[in-house]
């Protein structure tokens, strides 16, 4: 098949705007899967993805479509994650395409996340086809959305396709638009092999399966290939396509999207964004855009049962096989014992990993509050990168501290602009820009400390805008801030896993809040437990958990023992997730308390 009959495209959409449903309809309409094989959200295979209705890993599928011109086209749909944590994966998926469907909800309009991804797509020079979805909703305003697309993004939306993915309206028009408007891939058969890795997964029998888009040349089983960034060489064992299940074929040529297996044992050797070339006749230059993904958020993961430490390590290693962006190294905490400091792309990524560890590997975890990486400049001129508050050097050795800042873009109806500005100010934001997207919607740009974003900015944003605001952010660099380490002492003993880094001016307030939250969370013991927040030796807040005085079931009425046992079972259940630190039993949620304050 010549490249003229290939179309490679992605779908860009805000969460809930109907990306997965549209993908399902395209698969169904082209007969790629029979109705029986069709499950909702075919592309979101991970159990968690289905439950949360989100896409975490990029996926791909090949559709065969006979267009109205009578010719059969090979359409490769490359699904992209929709969350800011996975921006880099989105960017690599887009790099594998020539076009993208921009799906916008006919009732909701454009959101910040969509905008960010559209700009990414425009950066990659993709042809963008606006698709206005959910047109059969009573609240649908396709005309308003059409104008929004034109005004905000500057795209010609006069030929936007109006669809309802749910009811199957307009699916054929989408397919025609893909064929007519998205350019076929360019690329040459005669040039040496260059293939972009846009995703991978680990198969226990075949090793790493790399998802690739061939730019130039061909790739066949038996061929020796080289990963240009890692410089590792492998022999290809299988090549194939996604239908959407992996199906072997003889070769992948220019413009094609598919997978290769090459007995690659470690995902580290097969990084997303890297270029595969012919080991015997390597390309002069890799494809542009590769970068090593670096985690933005770190937290400690500890097993509640210290005997599960080994299982936790095994589980993390298994997850890492599929997720090169997950990093971890062993750490020890005085309070929590042996565990791991783990780095994540963002909070969602962290949540997902934690949940998979608990659900798929059955490990009960204690997670410490997430931290960003601080740059600590010591008086002796040394610079330390600190990802764990417990590792902060003593104050007298610190000259100054820098923390990461992000450029945050918020799109919000204009009646909430005041509230959002107030919130951003409170979160130490620096106002950068404000633009009216249309008469009723405003785009605000702030520079904010990343730590505030992971703390509670997003939740608060949702609250102050009654759920209407959408947020996107990207790292802009490090800035100096007046930061201090705040320690928490329980029963007079510092609990290292509860230490946090806070802005000096807010320390007292946070300290009081945290101490009072901990008083609610920590159960009563046989003795009184003082809770103190301290900066250095200075106590800035104090609360007390009162001692248990009396706790006993007075009566076993009429021989109803079962009921008593059930009551005791409840009491016991509550203790399960507690970690004994010194003489105090601390519930798991205490370590995340800093995030759960108003």
């Amino acid at each position: 098949m010549s490249t003229n009959h290939i179309r490679n495209f992605s779908i860009i959409a805000h969460i809930d705007h109907g990306k997965s449903t549209l993908a399902d309809r395209l698969i169904e309409y082209t007969g790629t899967l029979s109705a029986r094989e069709m499950e909702e959200q075919v592309l979101d295979q991970m159990e968690l993805e289905r439950e949360r209705g989100i896409t975490i890993k990029a996926q791909a599928v090949r559709l065969e479509y006979t267009a109205k011109d009578g010719q059969t086209y090979m359409l490769n749909l490359i699904d992209t994650p929709g969350h800011v944590d996975f921006t880099y994966e989105v960017s690599r998926s887009l790099a594998a395409c020539e076009g993208a469907l921009l799906v916008v909800d006919a009732a909701q309009g454009i959101e910040a996340q969509t905008l960010a991804n559209v700009y990414l797509a425009l950066d990659h020079n993709l042809e963008i086809i606006p698709v206005i979805n959910k047109i059969d909703l009573p609240s649908a305003e396709p005309e308003r959305v059409r104008h929004e697309i034109e005004d905000i993004i500057g795209l010609d939306a006069s030929e936007a396709v109006l669809v309802s993915a749910k009811s199957g309206i307009g699916i054929d028009e989408v397919l025609e638009a893909i064929v007519k408007r998205i350019p076929p891939p360019r690329g040459s058969d005669s040039e040496t092999l260059q293939a972009l890795i846009f995703d991978s997964h680990f198969d226990p029998y075949k090793g790493v399966i790399a998802y690739v888009r061939v730019m130039n040349g061909r790739i066949t089983p038996g061929m020796k290939i080289r990963m240009m960034a890692t410089e590792r060489t492998f022999e290809v064992t299988e090549v194939g396509i996604f239908r959407p299940r992996l199906t072997n074929i003889a070769e992948l040529g220019p413009g094609q999207v598919g997978f290769i297996a090459a007995s690659i044992k470690n995902v580290k050797d097969c990084r997303v964004g890297d270029t595969i070339t012919d080991a015997e006749k390597p390309a002069a230059k890799p494809l542009p855009g590769y970068r090593k993904v670096t985690p933005m958020v770190y937290c400690g993961l500890y097993p509640v049962e210290s005997s599960e430490y080994e299982s936790l390590r095994d589980a993390l290693e298994k997850l890492k096989l599929n997720d090169a962006s997950l990093v971890f190294e062993p750490e020890t905490s005085v309070a929590l014992g042996f565990g791991f400091r783990c780095g994540f792309l963002g909070l969602l990524h962290m949540d997902v990993i934690q949940e998979r560890l608990e659900r798929e590997y059955g490990i009960t975890l204690i997670t410490t509050a997430p931290s960003v990486i601080y740059r600590v400049y010591k008086t002796d001129g040394e610079m330390l990168e600190i990802d764990n508050p417990a590792k902060m050097p003593p104050p007298q050795e610190i000259d100054h501290i820098e923390e990461p800042f992000v450029k945050a873009t918020v799109i919000v109806p204009n009646e909430f602009v005041g509230a959002v500005m107030e919130l951003s100010q409170e979160k130490r934001g620096e106002f950068k820009d404000m633009k009216y997207l249309e008469t009723t919607r405003v785009m605000l740009t702030y520079h904010l400390p990343l730590s505030e974003i992971i703390y509670d900015y997003f939740d608060r944003l949702k609250t102050v805008s009654r759920g209407y605001a959408s947020l996107d952010y990207e790292l802009v660099g490090y800035q100096e801030s007046r930061l201090v380490k705040m320690d928490i002492l329980l029963n007079g003993e510092p609990v290292d896993a509860l230490s946090v880094i806070v802005h000096r001016e807010r320390a007292e307030y946070r300290g009081r809040q945290l101490a009072s939250k901990l008083r609610e969370i920590i159960p009563r013991h046989m003795f009184e437990i003082p809770i103190q927040a301290a900066i250095g030796n200075k106590i800035i807040a104090r609360e007390t958990v009162r001692a248990y005085r009396k706790d006993v079931l007075a009566k076993c009425y009429g021989g109803d023992i079962t009921r008593k046992r059930k009551l005791l079972e409840k009491q016991k259940e509550g203790k399960k997730r507690m970690k004994q630190v010194g003489s105090v039993e601390i519930p798991q949620e205490a370590f995340m308390a800093i995030l759960k304050m108003d």
């Binding site: 007075a554 076993c556 079962t562 008593k564 046992r565 079972e569 016991k572």
Partner: protein, 384 residues
């Protein structure tokens, strides 16, 4: 084989404000049909148990409620006749009945005595009229005193009175006074229960609305401390967390619950424990009558606790008693060495000062009794 029988009479003249037991007021019309159904269940089960290979002897009977003494002499007679006709009751069996002051006169007490009842338990709760009103009790302190005296005159020398502390508006002083009056009455057994506000009771609703003020924890604790100190000093030994008796007057029926011995429950909402199986009768009176009449059987549900659950039950019941848990008995029931199986829990609780052990047994310390739930919970198996 010896067993206890529990017979439930689910009627009260008026529902107390703290009560979540299966008992109903204003059902006078069903006293007779209920008695008839109850007798049918007593007879049927009696037949079943008397025809087994093992001879079953009844060595305790407990008629509880509710207020069993609300039933007419005629109904009570029918119940006892049926019991005697269909069960082998030991000559020296303990036969208890619960009563409320104001529901018995001298003649009824005489009659109960003549039916073979040899232990009576009065729900007195307090000797303070103000607190009795707070609880929604129908009797006064003087009626309570009178009832106890009448019972003694009628020939009851094995008497219990139930008392409660931690009541709304109650002070340590009030509680001391009630206990002093109880001692003056010279009864051989006192049960002293801390009030627990249960869901679904009027107290629960009022507490949620902030309409009742319970004593502060310190005060509640002081009341607990006082009763545990005062009654033993007066010769009433604390043989279970909430129960005090002169030696030889411990309630043999209730001891069966704590010692993991078999008992059968008869009547609506009655609980049974037999052969490791725990069962409960249906609690609705109407349904109970219907099921018994139709011959269907009144059992509403049952379970066979798993071994680890059964062990936990054995442990927390045994630990309620002053005698504690005897290694030998545990081994006899479960074929497991308690000290080995629960070594970690024992050490942990010992360190906390909640448990003490010697070669033969393990028991709660005074602190352990006060924080009993903490000790009990340690033996509850982890749910997967």
């Amino acid at each position: 084989m010896k067993i206890g029988l529990y017979v439930h009479i689910p009627f009260c003249r008026c529902k107390c404000l703290y009560c979540d037991f299966p008992s109903y007021a204003g059902c006078e019309a069903v006293y007779e049909p209920y008695t008839a159904a109850l007798c049918r269940e007593i007879a049927g089960k009696g037949g079943l148990f008397s025809h087994g290979t093992d001879t079953v002897y009844v060595d305790t009977i407990y008629i509880g409620g509710g207020t069993p003494t609300l039933l007419s002499g005629h109904c009570l007679e029918a119940i006892f006749e049926t019991l005697c006709a269909h069960w082998r009751i030991e000559r020296h069996a303990e036969i208890s009945i619960e009563a409320n002051p104001g529901t018995v006169d001298f003649n009824k007490l005489k009659m109960l005595r003549s039916l073979g009842v040899n232990r009576i338990s009065f729900g007195i709760q307090s000797f303070d009229d103000r607190l009795l009103r707070v609880l929604g009790r129908l009797h006064s302190a003087s009626e309570a005193l009178q009832a106890v005296k009448m019972a003694k005159d009628a020939g009851f020398d094995n008497l219990n009175i139930d008392l409660m502390y931690g009541l709304p508006e109650q002070t340590v002083g009030d509680w001391r006074q009630t206990l002093a009056i109880a001692i003056d009455l010279d009864v051989p057994h006192i049960s002293a229960y801390g009030l627990k506000i249960e869901e679904g009771t009027p107290f629960f609703t009022r507490q949620k609305r902030g309409e009742i003020s319970l004593p502060p924890e310190e005060e509640d604790e002081a009341m607990y401390d006082w009763v545990t100190e005062y009654l033993p000093a007066q010769g009433l030994v604390r043989y279970e967390i909430s129960n005090y008796a002169k030696p030889g007057f411990e309630c043999r029926h209730n001891l069966k619950y704590w010692r993991y011995r078999p008992y059968l429950g008869l009547g609506a909402a009655a609980h049974s424990f037999w052969n490791g199986r725990r069962a409960a009768n249906i609690s609705s009176i109407r349904e109970y009558i219907g099921k018994v009449q139709s011959g269907e059987g009144p059992e509403a549900g049952w379970e066979n606790p798993e071994k680890d659950e059964a062990m936990a039950e054995f442990i927390f019941l045994a630990l309620r008693t002053a005698a504690g848990l005897k290694h030998e008995e545990f081994k006899r029931y479960f074929g497991v060495d308690f000290g080995q199986r629960f070594a970690a829990e024992i050490i942990q609780l010992e360190t906390k000062g909640l448990l003490t052990k010697n070669g033969q047994s393990v028991k709660l310390t005074p602190l352990g009794m006060k924080l009993g739930n903490m000790a009990f919970a340690a033996f509850i198996p982890d749910k997967p």
